[in-house]
């Protein structure tokens, strides 16, 4: 695996993570959802799925190592599909 990278800004990270989970973990953001909390919960589920797939600590949070893993160069095929 690549050498670890330097830390990044949080907001960018969230956007990056959303795109990553959409591309590779079948995450569908409900663009006009009235319930922000529901959206976040859905995303946390997908983060957990990704963390479990890569053997990371399953926290549902966008922590340092999860973001690092998302930033690694990789194949464009999804890791899971509905």
């Amino acid at each position: 695996s690549a050498l670890p990278v330097a830390p990044k800004k949080e907001k960018e990270d969230v956007q990056f993570a959303k795109k990553y989970l959409e591309n590779f973990y079948d995450f569908k953001e409900e663009k006009h959802s009235l319930f922000k909390a529901k959206d976040l919960s859905l995303m946390a589920d997908k983060i957990r799925e990704m963390q479990s797939f890569f053997g990371l600590k399953v926290t549902g949070e966008l922590n340092h190592e999860t973001m690092d893993m998302m930033k690694q160069p990789r194949c464009g095929i999804p890791d899971i599909r509905s």
Partner: protein, 404 residues
């Protein structure tokens, strides 16, 4: 391993492929060889045969493209997504696309992506495998720079593809081992043979064979140098690197060449100045500074520029104390203290190792600072020393970090 929904496969053993275009990053012949080698990985463990065609429709169409290229998965510029491929079916099924915005290379280097490795992964998709979460498997979705000179499929990959196509036929005329790669003698630094006895100088007929990597739990395992690097711990022996990451329990095996191809194997010492994201490697009377993959310009530099007397020809080990910002250099039975803030050797040195670090002996092979302790490695033993009290706490096997 995993397959695509409904496990699509090619309903035949003879599969054709066509290379539609090339990347300007590599010689056309190197692109063709990388792809042929990738196919050979899979044909060597299945009954499948791959034939290249030069026109018309092939089962697997291979192309390089950047950004939007006519399917639903646009590429994203350098890094990120490197390539993708489609499971077996007619039309786009089986096709493999490579992101032209990447820097494709024939060998594993830093800043480039080994086309053979990525192609072998994507062809796994072209044959029906999806991603595997087995770390180290070829079908693991993350690109892992590794030495591909004698690359073998992971058992998980073999289990997956044979679940789809079965094992190779007995009478198969194909070799069961991948054909030997072109030894990259032209790219290995001429100094590399220093690892071999003069009798084994590489000649046209004697391929260069690096020493085998010792087993992780070999009780006699010793190290040349050890350093931390952005939270990981790297153990060096000859050209091999053992990487211990706080994120994964497994030890990863790499080579110095795969990260820093221009550096000579067989370091004497290494240490990290964490606040500057900088690691220094020492070999003989020279030293290099790297930041991640990048070797800082102006290196190598002579070790005497650090303040050693000319009588010092090489150093045995080095360790940086993050709290005091001092780096200790060990040479024979003495050690020096270097102030990283003032970039100068401290007065009153060298001192005797035995005076300040009783019980650890010398010479020292490698040194590491972790969790408030120094670890001094001598042969197959390591000595844990409380940094503040400079008191020997315990003696362990050098490879105790490898979960042996």
């Amino acid at each position: 391993y995993s397959t695509f929904p409904h496990s699509p496969t090619w309903q035949k053993e003879d599969v054709t492929y066509r290379i539609l275009n090339y990347t300007p990053d590599m010689l056309q012949a190197d692109v063709e060889e990388a792809i042929a080698r990738a196919f050979q990985l899979w044909s060597s463990v299945t009954p499948l045969k791959f034939t290249r065609v030069y026109g018309g429709q092939a089962d697997i169409m291979i192309s390089f493209a950047a950004g939007f290229h006519g399917d639903f998965y646009s590429f994203d510029g350098p890094g990120g997504t490197l390539a993708h491929a489609y499971p077996p079916s007619s039309g786009i099924g089986g096709d493999a696309h490579f992101d032209e915005d990447e820097n494709w290379t024939k060998f594993t280097t830093y800043g480039g992506y080994n086309l053979f490795l990525v192609a072998a992964h994507e062809l796994g998709h072209s044959l029906g495998l999806s991603h595997s979460n087995v770390f180290g498997a070829l079908m693991y979705p993350i690109y892992m720079a590794r030495d591909t000179r004698d690359y073998q499929l992971h058992q998980d990959d073999i289990d997956g593809i044979q679940a789809l196509y079965g094992p190779p036929r007995e009478s198969s005329t194909l070799p069961t081992k991948p054909f030997p790669t072109q030894e990259p003698t032209e790219t290995i630094p001429a100094e590399a043979p220093t690892q071999m006895s003069p009798r084994e100088e590489p000649t046209e007929t004697t391929p260069f064979k690096p020493p085998q990597r010792p087993e992780d739990c070999d009780p006699h395992l010793t190290f040349d140098a050890i350093t931390t690097l952005r939270g990981e711990t790297l153990f060096f022996k000859d050209s091999y690197v053992w990487r211990k990451s706080p994120y994964f329990s497994e030890i990863e095996h790499d080579t110095i060449f795969s990260f820093w191809p221009s550096l000579i194997a067989g370091f004497d010492a290494a240490y990290e100045v964490d606040k500057r994201d900088r690691v220094l490697f020492f070999k003989d009377d020279q030293y290099w500074a790297v930041s991640g993959y990048n070797i800082e310009p102006g290196f190598p530099k002579p070790i005497h520029s650090l303040g050693f007397p000319t009588s010092v020809r090489k150093i045995d080990a080095a360790v940086h104390d993050q709290n005091t910002k001092r780096t200790y250099f060990f040479v024979g039975h003495k050690y020096w203290s270097f102030n990283e803030n003032t970039h100068s050797m401290e007065r009153g040195y060298p001192r005797k190792i035995a005076a300040d670090f009783p019980g650890i002996g010398y010479p020292i092979d490698a040194a590491l600072q972790k969790n408030g302790y120094f670890y001094f490695f001598r042969g197959s033993n390591q000595y844990e020393v409380d940094i503040k009290r400079k008191k020997l706490i315990r003696i362990m096997k050098s490879n105790s970090w490898f979960n042996c």
